[in-house]
Structures are given as C-alpha cells and as structure tokens.
Symmetry: C2
Subunit: 590 residues, 2 copies
Amino acid sequence: MEVTRKNFSSVLPEVEKAINEADFLSVDTEFSGLHASNSFHISPLDTPEERYHKLRKGSSDFLVFQVGLCTFCYDKENSTYEAKPFNFYVFPKPYSRAAPDCRFLCQSSSIDFLASQGFDFNKVFKEGIPYLTSMQESELRDFLEERHKQYTQFSSPAFVTPDSGAEAVTTKGPIEIPEEHKEFIEGICNNIQEFLDKEGEESLSLPSCNGFVRKLIYQTVRQRFQSRVHLGAKTNEKKQRLIVVTRIKSEDEMKKKELEKQSTELAELEDAVGFSKVIRLISQSGKLVVGHNMFMDLVHLLHRFCSKLPENYQEFKAMAKCVFPKILDTKLMANTTPCKELLPSSVLGDLLKHIYSPPFKKPEVVIPENFPRYDIDDSNLHEAAYDAYITGICFTGMSSFLGGLQKPPLSYVPPDAPVVKPFTNKLFLMRVADVPYLDLEGDDVLPSRDHVFHITFPKEWKASDLYQLFSPFGNINITWLDDISAYVSLYKRDQSSTVMSTLCKRDARYKILTYELFKNGFKDKESRKRSHAPESTEEEPKKKKPLNVESVTPPMPEENGNKAEEEKMAADSTSEQQPNEQKMFEVPAW
Amino acid sequence: MEVTRKNFSSVLPEVEKAINEADFLSVDTEFSGLHASNSFHISPLDTPEERYHKLRKGSSDFLVFQVGLCTFCYDKENSTYEAKPFNFYVFPKPYSRAAPDCRFLCQSSSIDFLASQGFDFNKVFKEGIPYLTSMQESELRDFLEERHKQYTQFSSPAFVTPDSGAEAVTTKGPIEIPEEHKEFIEGICNNIQEFLDKEGEESLSLPSCNGFVRKLIYQTVRQRFQSRVHLGAKTNEKKQRLIVVTRIKSEDEMKKKELEKQSTELAELEDAVGFSKVIRLISQSGKLVVGHNMFMDLVHLLHRFCSKLPENYQEFKAMAKCVFPKILDTKLMANTTPCKELLPSSVLGDLLKHIYSPPFKKPEVVIPENFPRYDIDDSNLHEAAYDAYITGICFTGMSSFLGGLQKPPLSYVPPDAPVVKPFTNKLFLMRVADVPYLDLEGDDVLPSRDHVFHITFPKEWKASDLYQLFSPFGNINITWLDDISAYVSLYKRDQSSTVMSTLCKRDARYKILTYELFKNGFKDKESRKRSHAPESTEEEPKKKKPLNVESVTPPMPEENGNKAEEEKMAADSTSEQQPNEQKMFEVPAW
C-alpha cells in the first residue's frame, strides 16, 4: 500500500493494527546515495567498529526516500502467512519556519540508478511524509511552550514573532525602527486604525513584506493596539508570508484566540512527527524486525527517525538495541551454514528464487485484498515495500528449512524459535573476509589477524614489488589503502611469525608493522583524541562462541551477482572493487 | 522550448542558430538549494569579495536543475523583438564508469519550494542533459587516449578492463587469481573454447559478475585466446555489467573492432559534454548575457559547466570575464537612478508589471510558432526559461526608457548603446547597504566604513546593552555576527572619530575595534594562510567614478516583496532576516 503525506494520517491506524497483529516485521529503505566520497569505501579488513564509523561519516548525510514495511501474521489454521506491505514515501519538508531545514546529499549514480528503476522522485519531494527525530521534536516542543509561556506572562511578547524559529527566543531585545521603514510601519498602523474604526470586515490581511519588516510590525502594533487586535501569521498560495489582523472585543476573546492558536501549533507539531511515529510503533511492539543486508538500512532508520548517530560505537549498539530490541539480517542467515551451502547467491532477488526451489519449501503467503498484489518477479525489485516483502518471505523460507532439520522437524517456526535465535541482533558485514557479523548484543567476534601486515612503501611500487618482497612466505593477498600503503595477508598463516624478523628494517624504503601494532598505534591516537568517550575496543576482545546452528563459515565475497547486491543498495560502481583493486581516490570536488 | 536528454542533440543546431542571430541573450537557473549552512548567510556589510567567498563555499555544492536561455533578436522593420526561450533540464548522470560520480547537496526548503511551483523532478533526474566541465572533459579524454595508446602498444592490455575508470591506468600490476575464483574463471575459459569450437553463434555473453571477477576474466582470456576473441563490455537492462565475447578471424579484424570501439568511446565522451556545449556557444558568441539578480546564477553556471570556482577573487573575475565577456544584471539597472525612482519593487515578477506601465513602454516581443507561447502572468514564474524571457523583456523595457531620455531620444537601443554600457559587467549585491555593485571589470567601489565598529561582548549582552554603550553617539545599527560579536554602525557619521577614544579600554568586558582594523587583522591572517594566492584586496582600494547614467544610490533592502525575491532564488526562510536580526546559528547536522 502506497503511503504519502496525503493518506498518512488515515492509514496510520491500519499500520498500527498490522504491526500489533504481526508475528514479525520486515523493512527496507531506498536512499539518495551510498558513499559521500571514495575514502569511506568499505575494506575487507574493516572491523565492525570501523565499518560503523565509515557508515556514520560517509553515509548519514544521504536521505531516505522510501521506507518499506511488511508485516507478517501467521495463520495456523491454513498454515499461511498474511503479509501487509506498506510503501512509505518520506521527505523532511520543513513544516514551519521554526522547523529544521535539512541539507542532504545525493549521489548522481544512485539517483540515476533509482531513475532507471522507475522511481518517482516527484512523489518523494511533493508528497513525502514529514518526520522529526525525538530530539528535534522535543526542541520544537520546548520552543513552542516557551513562546506560549511568554505570551501568558506577557513579559515581552513584542520581541517574538510567531514564526521566526527557535532563535527568536534568544533575541537580544527590542528593535529600533530604521529610518527607511518608519513611513511604511506608520502606514500599516493607520490602516489598522481605519480597519478598527470601520467595524465592517472581520479581518485585515497586511501586504506581504519581509521577515524583518514583519517583526517591526508585530512589535509596533502590539505596543499601540495591545488588546484591540490579534495578529496571526498566514502563508498565501504564492508562499508569501502575511500578517492577518483580527478585531478583538475583549481580553477574554484575545485569550481564547491565543489558546486556539497555541493548540493549532501543537497539533501541527504532532503532524510533523509524521513517519517517525511508524518507527516508534515498530519499536514499541518489540517484534522481530527482519532486513536483508540491513546494516545501512538500520543506520539510516536510526539517524533520520530516532536520533543523531552516536560517535561512540558502543552507544550505537545500545541505541540500536533500544529502538529495535530484535532484528535479524537474512543475508547473514543465507551466508551461514547450512543455508550457505545450498544458496549459490545471497543477493535478494536470487535468494528469493532459491527459496522457491527444493530443498527449501515455497512459503505460502497471502496479501489481503486492499493491498496491491505483488507478482514475484523482478519488476518490483528496489521498491522498498516489495523488497521488504520478499525479505520476509526469504526469512520464513530459511527458518522453516532450519526447523525441518530439527528432530522432530518443526512444522511452524515462530520468530523466537531456538533455530532463529542465533541470528538475532547480528548484522551481516558486506565483503569482510574474516569477521562473521556485527554483534549488537555484545562484543564482536574479532579473529586473529596475525597473518596480516601493514606496509608503507614508495609511490612507484606496484603489486609485483610486494609479491617479490613477500615471496619467502608464499602467496599473499594485498588490500591497498592508498598509493603508498597496504595490508598484506599471508595465505600460509604458519609463516606469519617469521615475517617481522625477516623483513623488518631490511630496507629503508618500506616500513612494516604487524596488524595489531598498526591498529593499536592508530587506536591510541584515536582514543587520545576522544578521551571523553572511551572506546570499549581498547579492552581485550573476548572470544565468543560461533552461532550454534552450525559453525559459521565466514561469508566470503560472492563470485557472481555481487553487482546486483550493490544495485539493491543503489548503483555504485566503485564499491564493487575487490580487495586486490581496492585503492582509494578522493572524489574531486567538482 | 523544453530541452532534455531526449531531444538535446537534435535541438542543439537550433540553439546555435538562435544564439548566432541574437542581439542579446538572457539566462536564469533553478538550483537545489541556497545556503549549505546558516554561517554562509549574507550580511549587509559583506564586501563584494566576502560575498563571493560565501557563495563559493556555501552554495557551490548545490546542483543546477534547470537552465533557461532566451535569445532576443531585433526586427528593425517591425520594431519588435523575436524571443526564443529554451528550457534545459540538466543532470550530471555519470555517462560511463570512468566519468565523475558527482555528490551534490539539496536543501529541503528549496526542494519544497520548487515542488510547490510544480517543478518536475522526474524530468531532471530521468531526462536531464549531462554535462562536463572542460577540466573533466580533458581528463576523460586523456584517460581514453592513454588507454587507446596502451592497446596500440599492446604492452599490458590484460591489466586494464575497458570500463574500470581512470584509476585503472595506475593499476599496480597483474592480479593473482585467488583460490576461490579459480574454478569459475576456468569454467569461463572452457565456455569460450566451446564457443570457438562450435562456429555457430557470433557472440557469447558471459554471466554477469562483479568488477573484480570481470577483471580476472579480461586478464585470463586475453592471455589464453589473445587474437582469437574480442572482449567488449555491455550493460544489460537490469544495469548488470556483462562481458561479450566475439569471434575474431584475423589480426586485422581485431584491430578494426578495437578502432570501432575506440571511436564509439570518443563519441560517447562527446555526448557527455552535453549542456556545457550550450555555455560554450554562448561564450563564443561574445554577446551580451542578461540576468536578474544574477550573481548566484553566474557562480553556478561557471562552476558546473566551465570550471571549478577559483579560491582567489581576482581569478574569479578573470574567469567570469573570459567565459561571459559581457553580462548585465537587470536588478542593478532597476536599482539605479533614474529607473530606481520609478520602480517600487525590483523583484522580477513585479518589475515586469512596472515595465508594462508608463513611463515605461511595453516592449513588443514575439515568440516564433515552434516555441510555446508564454502568457505574461505569474503562472510560469520560476520556470527558468520564462524567468529568462521576462528578464530580457525588463532589460529592453528599461534600456528603451533610458534611450528615450537621451537627446535626441533613441528609437532603438542596441545592447552596446552608451546608455547600457555603464551597467555591463557589474553584479547586483543583495542586501548590501553601501556597495553599489560587484565590478567584474576592475576593482570594486569600496565605501568608507569609518562609522562601523567591531565589538566583542559577553554572551548575556542584548541589543539594549549595545544601545546604552553607544548612547553618546546617537542612534546605531547593529549587525549581529554571533552571540558575542557584532558590527555597530553609527547613524551620525561625524561622531565616528570620538568612538575609539571614548569607549576603548573603558571596560574589560567588551573589546572594540574599528572596522578597518578588524578587517585588516583578519585579512592578514587570511593572507598568511594563503600566501601562495595573494589577494588584491590587500592593496589600497581605488576610488572609482559611479555609474555615469546618473549617480548610483545604494540599492537598499526593499520594504516590500523581498520575500518574492528570495523565492525566486528558492524558498529559504532564514536568509530573509535583516541586519538587526542577523544572528548566526549552525544548522544542527540532523
């Protein structure tokens, strides 16, 4: 079901009902870009924490254009799921002049990709549902209450225009009317006097003029006509701001009018919270939220609809856990044994096709009549609600398969079943070779990287120089960091212990460090910089047991279809690069 | 005439003809936002140079969505103008994987404003004409030529995939095939061998796979099948990248195929230059280009279609002058005596209405049949071509009025007439109180600011504290810089000389500096920072004669309709603030 600003308030109760009735929910988002610059590109040696910081710095300035939510409710009698897919178009239209005026980033290739998928940008920008984070909402509420209080106290109402934004509260005092505006303001006062004398019209619209002049008008008129007129703000169809003067007969009428205005303002703020209410409903339900390759989706959902992303990684985990107590990433499930061995590709579109064939069993899913029917083909791919819908199907498909392996086999696998639990609150990490997942519930599994070395070398060096340097230790894998540095990983891990003694200081042209030493040096610098926010990564990482369904084999980059996965996240050519070609180039600021 | 990617190449000759036949041209642009943050807001005490730096830093990350060009050709026989308005939708779609992937900023309020004006975002993003700056074009051309040369030399073609971007040139050597990809690559080689053996199909599409694997395929296949197959890149309708293998019978056929491919690539690059060709045609014509309040339009046109904006202000002037040898700002004309006294508002829509009434004479303008008729009403305002069209009309209206004042009166005023010349190459400066214009042809007119003082004070201070402090010197005007600093200007300039001796060091809570001292201190710091780019502003500003039509009275902020002007530039609530309320607040990075 398509949800825009036009039908949001009427559909919201249905969304709430669907969430409350659901057994689990699935989500997907479409956004305006992927990487603010190439320097935020992911690397196969990113730790979960490093990956988070890259996403926070490199992706959070992009905007969410569309959020898909699909609720799944199991019907035991018929052994079917009822799915309700909602497709929300969202846009942070500033609801008033006090509301934040968001600046956001777009990436041409991502916009072009969405365009090629038939994405409707007019619907986003013209009919997108507004939203506010809790922080923004409470700031605006404080601001309104402060202004309403000021009105009640009548201390200095003249200095605050009704629409001038939060900063008006901190205005530095009354304004001297500049010479060039005096005649105009006098004219306005004369008009108001005439309007009051005539007793005909009920209200008078003043000519549109700029914010400063409006401020002067508020100040002067309130001084001169204190309890005889009420001033209100209006925006005409040309988006011009007008002041409307209304006749007031008594002090009581004035108060009543003001109270009416105040409650209208509070109602407008309530509307402005908009789509964030859906996220709050999801959060309050505490239900399992499923996503596919959902790290970036999660980061955007939190950042745009809940609160600014914390700098501290542990705080991010706490925040994610608090907003979404249970999440599950189907890409992790698909890349974990035993599903992994049966799925040649975990790209969403491909995954769905595999789930429909043996040994998986096509899940029975029905969509109620008042929702649009989704054909299971690729034509709707990249529409957030469709992607959320098939993500949910993939989840039920894989979890019933896992249930079928149990003894005795389970006919229905609820979202809190023991076979599902090992996957909850773990996020798949794209293209990380040796870390199985980001663990939202505890410390991350950080494997030994004793076979990895950091090396700095002259700019002229090519791969062949590194191959030659490391030739005594067998084959290597190079992860370029920039033109003059790289990580080198040994295939033969047992050779690791001899590298430093053999290569260290043999040649002044290069400098080699163990991975651990390089990271700790780097981390020390980092933690000195942010000593107010101690990172838990400074502690010794605890070894954790792997997922208990069966041991997790690290999800390696797929041989095929990786591009499609990138496309799911919006077309981005460079992030397709693999370890060996991963070199960083700053995007020129064209 | 609407021009998009679809009809651009067929319309371009008509655009060229119209430019070449025209007597003068007018332009207007629509963009994705105004100010990257509130700290780039304009101040009434900005010098032209400061204003340029604010625009460069605070506006150049926004994108141009639409460019309007209207050509005006005078028909002496009928004393009418023929106007040809072209409305170009432009978007920097990356034309290939080597092309720059632009990141751009949007401002919610501006997008919302465009949306309210019925702007078609789908047309921009789906059908926008691409463009490249000269620098981008020559970099891409060099890259192509380098690759074509590499092919000719056949030195190491295997290491360069045909679509991997400029960085491929600097690739650090051959890639070792990782263990996990060996089987897949072997399979591909077997498929190609089978395809060659069978002699049936003419070409073979390999399965879509990621960029790294494609690189491995190129490398391996070229080694093994050197002159027997040709490999080409293809993007299918799902935006997946494929390799297409074609059978090659002889070395000559191979060369021919490669040359064909090379000329296709060069033609693609030619297409990618796109809209920049229009700007080059305008530039080459050397004709007068008219705009309304065109500083920001000029900055965007240069930045997006010509070259990155220079840091140095004098270089900016030189660049502007080089690209557009003659420009004219109708807003400056309207705010200069004698037009100024006859025009209550110089906001574009209002200006047009005034030009249609006495003492101005409605210009006779006809639009040829194959162009859409523009009704002169507000319904098309903010469509770039319409705004360019009425800007041109305003120009002819004002210039014939000025011609009529001559003795003897001129019946036709050509764009190089002596009454027009004083306005050429000068840009109107929005809301600057005492600088008449930015002069692209020489040093700016910088008036004395001996009556202006910079003051730092405790955060608690309000306007009343400043009024009190300065009470010995009469009325003052405050320009807030932030919570703890402001410029204070005296109304009574003759009091200026006593301020420093009276106020300096009387009280430790504040610190006061003359405007000159504050600016020079600041400038010294600035020039130390950028000693490689000496700013000419360090020189003593020369006094210049005012415009010679009649003396220029400084264009003051308008009492009315200022909002409409802001709206012309896209809705931005905060920039509407006037001197007295100008306080800076960083936009929180929500």
